[in-house]
Symmetry: C2
Subunit: 419 residues, 2 copies
DNA sequence: GGGCTTTGTTCAGACGGCGAGCAAAGTATC
DNA sequence: GATACTTTGCTCGCCGTCTGAACAAAGCCC
């Protein structure tokens, strides 16, 4: 039962695993997914099940087309095993990222591979209606490029640029998105495709994407810090997303790192966001331009993109801005490490374009500022998924839900609508 | 499977619920515990089980003496139900708190009620051997006061004043307790009683105690902030303890709230602990004494206790110290709220003696400093368990483990040693 | 080729939980 | 007070799930 699922489940059942056909079938399916290729005997050994049970479960899995027999594997001193292979292309998932000023849609397979990608800038904050139409348009475009995709669609995942309370996932914050009327209103799109809709915050889904496909693979406790217009973080704890009481956990941008600093919109003084957000950097660049008359930034009105470009080109002013941002970010990260004790911190979002220019001074700051040294410098890394993290994470949320309740897969027993 | 259990489980089993007699028996037992008194039919309704299944499970539970039939309840329009009552006094638990400078032991029943309490100050940090002997002595004293207690003992829980990594619970931090040689060495005591040993950090166990018996009842996401020699926090998320990657989560005392502040032992500048810890308050009191010649604190060398007393008596200097501590604490709490989004914050430890003197300015600071207002002022409250939170929490850890695996209860099928 | 191992299947059986049915013991209605 | 109805707790047969034993097929090793 995903806390962020909006559409009701297709069948009712009483307890978490009861009423479901073959309680262990899903865990066997997940193992095949995880291992990609595995034999029945190997499943039995790893899951500590009897070979007869595994055999019976596999015979139920084969007709779903999610798993296929693909030849034989190497002998272990006896009969050669039949290789069972998870069919990554058996189904498709739509992952949508709605940012502050853009919409991106990824059509993925069951291994997180992006098959079709659509991206368009849009005034999301002020135009909810147009944004909804755009999401629909880009989703349709993705599906139309892939024959038969509607029939094989598992679900629609959406990353939104505001906190989502798992208890009422249809609501969006009226503070962050004042023109949206408190609702994202994307239900009709999922209904048009007859699939479940799931939504969550973009930082959470970025974290999820890194956990499954990126720098967070195999790491059960880490933080994903997204530096874009604002700064948000998603936290994975014990392998699962940490959401807090009302789903607004991860507002690392509003940690106070200097109680004498400037007042922030959130009410605190000296928030991290007042030092490191795009707007803060641009403002600071303007202020310092007088001291750096030869800077590349003097040519035009500075933007976050030109600052990044200048830093990569070695411009002293831009480098100073990045260095100071790293210093402030380091203080907040150090506090976060002491409080939440992740094993790793993954940085995503726009500013990560500058790569080690940001990361090196950041590592140095954190190294100087944590005695308990809950993480060493090597645990501060850049996102591996880059700008696609949000949309891929949205698709991953659907994949995760389906792998934990395989009845969500549209295999055989479901719809026969037109593709 | 508790992550902090040190002694191996009594029987081996393969999966979490497999190999265990009656998978649903423990959840029925927990329901009876939770409801105190309940009929078979009511259990069947709430757990969505058939009456026949419940009947059979109860017939297994009755011989354990954890549950007893105690008459009949009111009719609901038909035959009157037989009341099943959880027997809180069927077993006993030892909960130990080892503080920086004291040892306390509570012998509790299965409802967290403290039956015997022993407390003694001791130089814990510098005398590991004497501390271990003292723990043993106080435990023996508790057991000796209660006839037959050794036979009915479920386990030994210990709260330690340093982070505990669930993956190696026998280890203690060499930084926090340098004289202890990296190990707490309490295994032999549990072995002497032939019960499992479980250990965890004192802030975590304070949080657990408040969750089960205090201000955190029914709250699935909250933070417990312990203000004593240092400042630590325990976090409950989704009803369970949040431990982080290596069990050191909750070092709220080392959040940086002023990057220009004094350097802290931890490497950061302007840590909360440099403003609000006992030592910080005493130092500050000395510094300010010149400005407050009439202060009650001028009589003797100020200590944290005399400062608390003076504040309660209305002394201006002491009140100023408390107010400023509340202000700094408020900044850290606000940041923590933004990052972790608890529904409530519970304050424990020594400084809480001053009560609303601390809480009121704290609430005001937090109110001013959180726009997203993830908690309102009423969600900042004092501990309900006070100085016993640690020891009671240690016992609760054992109780929780036993209620999730009733084979830990020493009922019938176990030892017949001398009591 | 013979002995051994491994794989995957079949089949009888154990076990947990379920629903039907029933007696006991209550309430509601006349 | 008699009758009808409800609720409780138990017994019993049934079903689905998983298991172990047995077996054939297919490999390895000597």
């Amino acid at each position: 039962m995903s806390p962020v699922m909006q559409t009701p489940e297709r069948r009712t059942h009483r307890r978490d695993d009861a009423g479901r056909p073959r309680p262990l079938a899903d865990s066997v399916l997940r193992m095949i997914w995880r291992e990609r290729e595995i034999s029945r005997a190997e499943i039995a050994r790893r899951a500590e099940l009897s070979r007869s049970t595994v055999s019976e479960i596999v015979s139920l899995l084969l007709p779903t087309a999610l798993v296929a027999e693909t030849g034989t594997g190497p002998s272990r001193g006896g009969r050669r095993p039949i290789v069972l292979q998870f069919q990554d292309d058996a189904c498709l998932i739509l992952g949508v990222e709605v940012g502050a000023s853009h919409v991106a849609v990824a059509l993925t397979d069951l291994r997180g591979k992006v098959l079709v990608w659509r991206h368009r800038t849009h005034v999301v904050r002020t135009d909810p209606k147009g944004t909804r139409a755009l999401v629909r348009e880009l989703c349709d475009a993705c599906l139309d490029k892939t024959p038969g995709s509607r029939r094989r669609l598992v679900g629609l995942g959406v990353a939104l640029p505001c906190p989502i309370d798992p208890r009422s996932p249809e609501r969006v914050s009226e503070i962050v998105l004042p023109d949206w009327g408190g609702r994202h209103g994307l239900e009709s799109i999922a209904e048009a495709y007859d699939v479940p809709l799931m939504v969550d915050n973009d930082a959470n889904l970025g974290a999820l994407a890194e956990r499954w496909w990126g720098a967070g693979r195999g790491v059960d406790d880490f933080a994903f810090v997204k530096i874009a217009t604002g700064i948000g973080s998603g936290h994975v704890s014990g392998g699962n997303l940490y959401r807090g009481a009302t789903g607004v956990a991860g507002e690392i941008g509003h940690m106070a790192i200097d109680s004498h600093g400037e007042r922030c919109v959130c009410g605190l003084r000296g928030c991290l966001a007042t030092f490191v957000g795009s707007q803060a950097l641009v403002t600071k660049a303007r202020k310092l331009l007088a001291d750096y008359p030869g800077s590349m930034l003097a040519a035009n009105e500075p933007t976050i993109t030109t600052i990044e470009d200048a830093a990569l080109a070695g411009d002293p002013l831009a480098l100073r801005l990045v260095n100071e941002a790293a210093e402030h970010l380091g203080v907040a990260i150090a506090s976060m490490l002491n409080l939440m004790n992740p094993a790793k911190v993954i940085f995503g979002g726009g500013l990560t374009r500058v790569g080690d220019l940001l990361l090196e001074p950041l590592r140095e700051t954190v190294r100087r500022r944590t005695l308990v040294s809950s993480v060493d410098a090597s645990a501060l890394v850049m996102s591996e998924l880059g700008p696609r993290a949000g949309a891929v994470g949205a698709a991953t949320m659907v994949l995760k839900a389906a792998l934990h309740d395989s009845r969500l897969f549209p295999t055989s027993h479901r719809r026969a609508e037109a593709s």
